[in-house]
Every structure is written in structure tokens, then in C-alpha cells.
């Protein structure tokens, strides 16, 4: 067998063994899978009442365009047909004041010149202004903005196709192949008097890119979680998935202390296979945790994963990789199993507290929020909160994903450099 084949085979067998050991060990299972939910239930009961119940959603729309324009037609169409959605039209200034007084959670704004841009096939933008506490309103507005953008896009495609058929002379519109959806920088502007403070450390997101229409999101004021479970489940997931590095560290040191490592070496297992196998085993354990977390989170706790559940899952998978890498690194630092366990407890608990697993990052003072960025927890939680609470898109959480990848690479490399067979 080739060296690479042998390496992969041995690493896979070792990882499968570790997963089996984990699944057969009641203590670890209890700790990794049952405990977290006990916490979630306890804290959601504690935090429950203050978060309030869902209210029916009213979508507020405002346009700066005159009667008869496309934006008016869109609003009329929605008023006439939207099912289960209450649509209310406001004058721009009226909407702005209502949002500032927090009478409404947010509104969708059609800028002046919207209709003309659409007709000409030129880029334009919709702006969603919202108050961060109004999570449902934002979600609704986001969907509406996205729907409109999609509609207009298909309209423009059709328009162009017809223009193409009719010949270039018939149109003063877009030449085919012009790059679409590339508006100038800067959004419609933050509401006056509110300051453009990016809450939670990130700026306004953009979403709903379409051929010619782009929706911007402008957030006003502080962010607050709407339902405790939407914050607690990812928080405890982060904490416990990371905490699992205790098993990783322990399991590698146990191989050393009980001399199974010696057996593996005597059986021609390479250093790389052992390292790779231990990391892969830790990763598989983490995946089991994730499956349980997300399945139970959705089915039992009715967690809302936002508009991009796949991105939420991806963030949690990246976190698992980080945990695996840090776990193996831990085993190269600690000398004994007990040492590894106490280090794991200390690191995990302090990082969970600092990294926003127990209380939202965005309620912490700014300097603490910055400090929190040294923990993978903060990045993971920030990504979860953005995606699950604030309707962010995968692009909005690229920095967080990037940070997690960097954590994984750095600790993986450190572990690989430090690991010794004897």
C-alpha cells in the first residue's frame, strides 16, 4: 500500500476507534450531549418571560416616488395580494419618525429614481431600516426586499430579451452583458440622529443582490436577542463543542499513559497517522454533538436558524475543527490526563464567558468585546447571532468563518509541530 494510503487508512481506523470509545462511554456522552440541553432548558426558563411572544408582523413600506411609479405599483400589488402579511404604506418622513420613536420595528424604503433605474435596467437599491430588537420585522422585510429584487430581476431579464429580439435600435436600455448589480458604494444612509455605530461589531449588511436591484440594511440602535433559545442553543453549542477538547486532550494523553501509543508505534503507525487520526476522531465526536444539537434544537426548542441554515451549520462545523485542533494541541502542552482535564475546564469556561456563550457579546463593553476576539467562541457566537437573530447572509459572516479557519490552522500547526511519539 502506498504511504498516503496507509496514512489515511490508519488515521481513519484510529478516528473510528475514538468515536466508538466516545459513544460507548456514558460519562462523556452525558457531558457532551445531555448537559448542554439541561443548561439550555434551565436558562431559557430563567430568561423566558422577558423576551415576549411573537406578535403578528406588519410590513411597513415607504416610497419617495410619485404616484404611478413602479414602487407604488409594487406596494399596491402587495396590499392587494399578500397573504398572512399585513402591508402598510407610510410616507418616508412618517416612517422615519415612527422608527425613531420605536413605534414600528422597521420599514422598506424605495429611493427616488427607483422606477427609472428599473426601467433602464440600471442598478438601484432598496433600503431596509430596522430596529435591532425587531428581529421578526427585519426578517419579514428582508424576505420582502429579496422577493421584490427577484421579481424585478426577472422583469429585467424579460425586458432585455425582448429588446434583444427587437434589435439594438429598439432600446435605449442596457447593452447585453453589462455587469449587473454593481451599484456605487454606500447605502441610503443611517437614520439621522442615530449615529452609525455598528452594533455587535459589524456594519450594515447587504443582501438580496439581484440583477439591478440591491437591498441594503440599516440597523438602528442596540441589538437584543428576541427568543432566548435562538441565543442559548448556539451559545451552549459553542461552549460544549469547544469543551469537547477535554476528551481530545485526555484521549491522546491516555494513549500515551496506558502505552497504547507505544503499541501503535511498534505496529508501524506513523506520527502523522496518529496525529491525523486523533484530530479526525475529535472532529467526528464534534459532528455527533452538532447533529444532536441542531436536531434537538430545531425539533425540541424550535430554534430558528435564520435565512441560511447551511451557513449556520458550516460555522458550527468550523468550530468543531477548531476544537479538534486545540484539543490535540492541549495534549502536547499538558503532561498528564488530569493536567489536560483541568486546563480544558479552565480554558473552556473562561473562553465561554468571555466569548459570549453565557450572555450576548453585544451587551458587553466595547473593550471587552474586542478582547473577546481572542477566543474562537466570540467569532462563532458572532456568526451565529448574525445569521440566526439578524438575518445576515453567508457573506456577512465571512470574517467570522475566516477567523475560525485561522484558529484551526494555527492550533493544528502548533499541535503538529509539538507532538512527540515518545
Amino acid at each position: 500500500m502506498s504511504n498516503a494510503g496507509r496514512f489515511l487508512r490508519q488515521a481513519a481506523i484510529l478516528a473510528a476507534k475514538d468515536l466508538k470509545v466516545f459513544l460507548l462511554d456514558r460519562g462523556s456522552l452525558l457531558f457532551a450531549l445531555v448537559f448542554p440541553f439541561a443548561f439550555v432548558v434551565m436558562f431559557s426558563l430563567m430568561m423566558g418571560p422577558s423576551f415576549g411572544e411573537d406578535k403578528p408582523v406588519i410590513v411597513h413600506l415607504a416610497t419617495a416616488e410619485p404616484e404611478g411609479s413602479i414602487s407604488h405599483q409594487i406596494i399596491q400589488g402587495m396590499e392587494a395580494s399578500a397573504e398572512g402579511l399585513q402591508v402598510r404604506r407610510l410616507a418616508p418622513e412618517e416612517a422615519r419618525q415612527a422608527l425613531l420613536k420605536q413605534e414600528i420595528g422597521g420599514y422598506l424604503f424605495f429611493p427616488p429614481g427607483f422606477s427609472e433605474a428599473v426601467m433602464r435596467g440600471q442598478p438601484t437599491r432598496l433600503t431596509v431600516y430596522y430596529h435591532p430588537e425587531a428581529v421578526t420585522a427585519r426578517a419579514a422585510l428582508t424576505s420582502v426586499a429579496r422577493a421584490i429584487a427577484t421579481e424585478i430581476r426577472s422583469y429585467q431579464v424579460m425586458y432585455r430579451a425582448i429588446a434583444e429580439l427587437a434589435g439594438p435600435a429598439a432600446t435605449g436600455g442596457v447593452p447585453p452583458g453589462q455587469p449587473a448589480g454593481a451599484p456605487g458604494e454606500g447605502a441610503g444612509g443611517v437614520l439621522p440622529g442615530q449615529g452609525a455605530r455598528p452594533p455587535g461589531g459589524w456594519g450594515p449588511g447587504q443582501a438580496a443582490d439581484a440583477l439591478g436591484v440591491r437591498a441594503d440594511f440599516q440597523q438602528v440602535g442596540e441589538i437584543e436577542a428576541a427568543r432566548p433559545v435562538d441565543f442559548l442553543v448556539p451559545g451552549y453549542l459553542t461552549m460544549f463543542v469547544f469543551f469537547a477538547l477535554a476528551f481530545t486532550g485526555e484521549s491522546l494523553l491516555a494513549e500515551r499513559e496506558t502505552c497504547t501509543l507505544e503499541r501503535l508505534v511498534a505496529a508501524s503507525t506513523s506520527r502523522g497517522s496518529i496525529l491525523g487520526g486523533k484530530m479526525a476522531g475529535a472532529f467526528l465526536r464534534g459532528l455527533v454533538q452538532l447533529v444532536i444539537f441542531w436536531v434537538a434544537g430545531t425539533l425540541v426548542f424550535h430554534v430558528r436558524m435564520g435565512h441560511y441554515p447551511a451557513a449556520v451549520v458550516l460555522v458550527s462545523v468550523l468550530l468543531t475543527v477548531v476544537s479538534a485542533a486545540v484539543g490535540v494541541f492541549l495534549a502536547t502542552v499538558a503532561r498528564t490526563r488530569k493536567g489536560a482535564a483541568s486546563m480544558a475546564v479552565f480554558i473552556s469556561l473562561s473562553a465561554a464567558a468571555l466569548g459570549g456563550c453565557w450572555w450576548p457579546l453585544f451587551i458587553m463593553p466595547r473593550w471587552l468585546q474586542n478582547l473577546a476576539r481572542i477566543t474562537p467562541h466570540a467569532w462563532a457566537n458572532s456568526a451565529f447571532n448574525k445569521l440566526m437573530l439578524f438575518g445576515a447572509t453567508p457573506a456577512d459572516v465571512l470574517p467570522e468563518m475566516g477567523a475560525l479557519v485561522i484558529f484551526a490552522i494555527v492550533f493544528g500547526a502548533l499541535a503538529a509541530g509539538r507532538f512527540r511519539l515518545n
Binding site: M1, R6, Q10, I13, L14, K17, K20, V21, L24, D25, E257, T258, C259, T260, E262, R263, L264, V265, A266, A267, S268, T269, L421, N422
Partner: protein
């Protein structure tokens, strides 16, 4: 078997040759220039008080610990220059219970078989054979954690046999084992020897060494202080029928306690 013949064999026909082996840990010399040879098919005993350097010697011979200086040649291959070749000939039963208590006996054996390159089918059938050999076939699917001390020791031995080694290192395979289990282990080892396996055996039980070993080396403080057949060693002190190997051991290594620094 070899009792009564204690000559040093010529280098050429030795299956294992240990040459001036040394190991220094942070200034502490654990093994201090040890040389001996083991013939094919021989059970070679390595005796010595705690901290004498037995385990360290075995680790270097089994390629799991780098040598400070000197070399070990196993079946013509140097542990220093070609550890991979040496590993194809050896099986290791460490002093610790080197197994996974959460897993069943069968899973433990199969895991090491698979890691050693066996297919699943090979690993399974070989594991069952080995469990049969150590008298645990009926407990194959039980968790090792639930086993008695003696049963765990037998699993430890059975794992070492997964690679069908020509040379087997047994580092105190009978610690904490009742006479019944111990007897079973002896019979197993004698069976292996009769099948042509070469065995390096360490123990603190002198009567074990007397019964099993063709030759024994007595180590103290990292050096070999005597090497001969049990019979010849006893004859040095008096009537071999009356003197015990323990008398020889105490005579050679003194009565000072080793764990008092």
C-alpha cells in the same frame, strides 16, 4: 530445554543482538551499556529490581524509544537504521495494560490488527484465535472494563500476538494476576515458544523466571550483573536444587530498597 548450557553463542546465529545499549534521560543513565544476544526460539528473562532499566531496554529494542547510543539488531535489522523492518518481526506486551477499557476484547484486538494492516476478516479471525488461546473466547464481546485483573492481562497478551510476531516482548505480563490466570499465561507462553516464537520476558517473580526462561540476565542500575541459565546461576551459590533464583537475585543486587532514591 536449554537448562545446563550457558555458553555465550556466537554472534552469527543470534536472532537478537543487543550491543552496548545506553539510554540517558536528562542526565539520568537508565541503561548503561547493556549487551546480550537472544537465540531464535529462546525464552530470555530480564530480571532486576525496580528502576533497573528493564522497561527502558525493552522500549529501545522494540523501536519505541530512541537509543542514546549502541544498537539492537533484530533479524538482521538495526532499530536505529531501519526501525520499520524491525517492527515487522516484533510484538509488544507493555508493562501497562495497553488497551481500551471501553471497548470489547474483540474490538481491542481487531483495532490493533487493523492498524497493523490486516483486513477486517483477517483481523476478526485472528482476534478470535488469540482470544481462544488466552481462554477468553467466550468473553470476546464483553467490555474489557468489566474484566478481572487477570483477564485484562490476558487481553494485553493477546493483543501483542495480533501481528504473529517472531519476537515477543513481555514486560511483566503477570503483575496482579491470580495463580490460575498466571498458570494460563505460562501455558500460553510455553505453547508459543514450542511454536518457534522467541520471547523476551521480564518479571519480579523469580520462580516464574526459573520455570520459563532458558537464560536470564540480571540487571541492576542499568547494567547486566549476571547472565546465564537459571541452573548455572543457582550453582554459583551452592546446590542448585536447594538454592532459589531469588537467593541469587538478592545476592547479586543487594537488599537495599530501590524506591528510596
Amino acid at each position: 530445554m536449554a537448562a545446563g548450557t550457558g555458553q555465550v553463542h556466537e554472534r552469527g546465529d543470534a536472532f537478537v543482538e543487543v550491543r552496548e545499549l545506553r539510554k540517558v534521560f536528562d542526565g539520568i543513565t537508565a541503561v548503561d551499556g547493556v549487551s546480550f544476544t537472544i537465540q531464535r526460539g529462546e525464552i530470555f528473562g530480564l530480571l532486576g529490581p525496580n528502576g533497573a532499566g528493564k522497561t527502558t531496554t525493552i522500549r529501545m529494542m522494540a523501536t519505541t524509544l530512541p537509543v542514546t547510543s549502541g544498537d539492537v539488531i533484530v533479524a538482521g535489522h538495526s532499530v536505529h537504521d531501519d526501525p520499520a523492518a524491525v517492527r515487522r518481526h516484533i510484538g509488544v506486551c507493555p508493562q501497562e495494560l495497553a488497551l481500551y477499557p471501553e471497548l470489547s476484547a474483540l474490538d481491542n484486538l481487531m483495532f490493533f490488527g487493523l492498524m497493523g494492516g490486516l483486513t477486517r476478516a483477517e483481523a476478526r479471525s485472528r482476534a478470535m484465535e488469540n482470544l481462544e488461546l488466552v481462554g477468553l473466547a467466550d468473553r470476546a464481546r464483553h467490555r474489557v472494563a468489566k474484566f478481572s485483573g487477570g483477564m485484562k492481562r490476558r487481553v494485553n497478551l493477546a493483543i501483542a500476538l495480533m501481528s504473529r510476531p517472531e519476537l515477543l516482548f513481555l514486560d511483566e505480563p503477570t503483575v496482579g494476576v491470580d495463580p490460575q490466570s498466571r498458570n494460563h499465561i505460562f501455558t500460553t507462553i510455553e505453547g508459543l515458544r514450542d511454536g518457534g516464537m522467541t520471547v523476551l520476558y521480564t518479571t519480579h517473580y523469580m520462580e516464574e523466571a526459573d520455570r520459563l526462561c532458558d537464560r536470564v540476565a540480571i540487571m541492576d542500575a542499568g547494567r547486566i550483573v549476571a547472565l546465564d541459565t537459571p541452573h548455572n546461576l543457582k550453582a554459583r551459590l551452592g546446590d542448585p536444587e536447594k538454592v532459589t533464583l531469588e537467593d541469587v537475585f538478592l545476592h547479586l543486587t543487594g537488599r537495599r530498597l530501590r524506591d528510596e532514591g
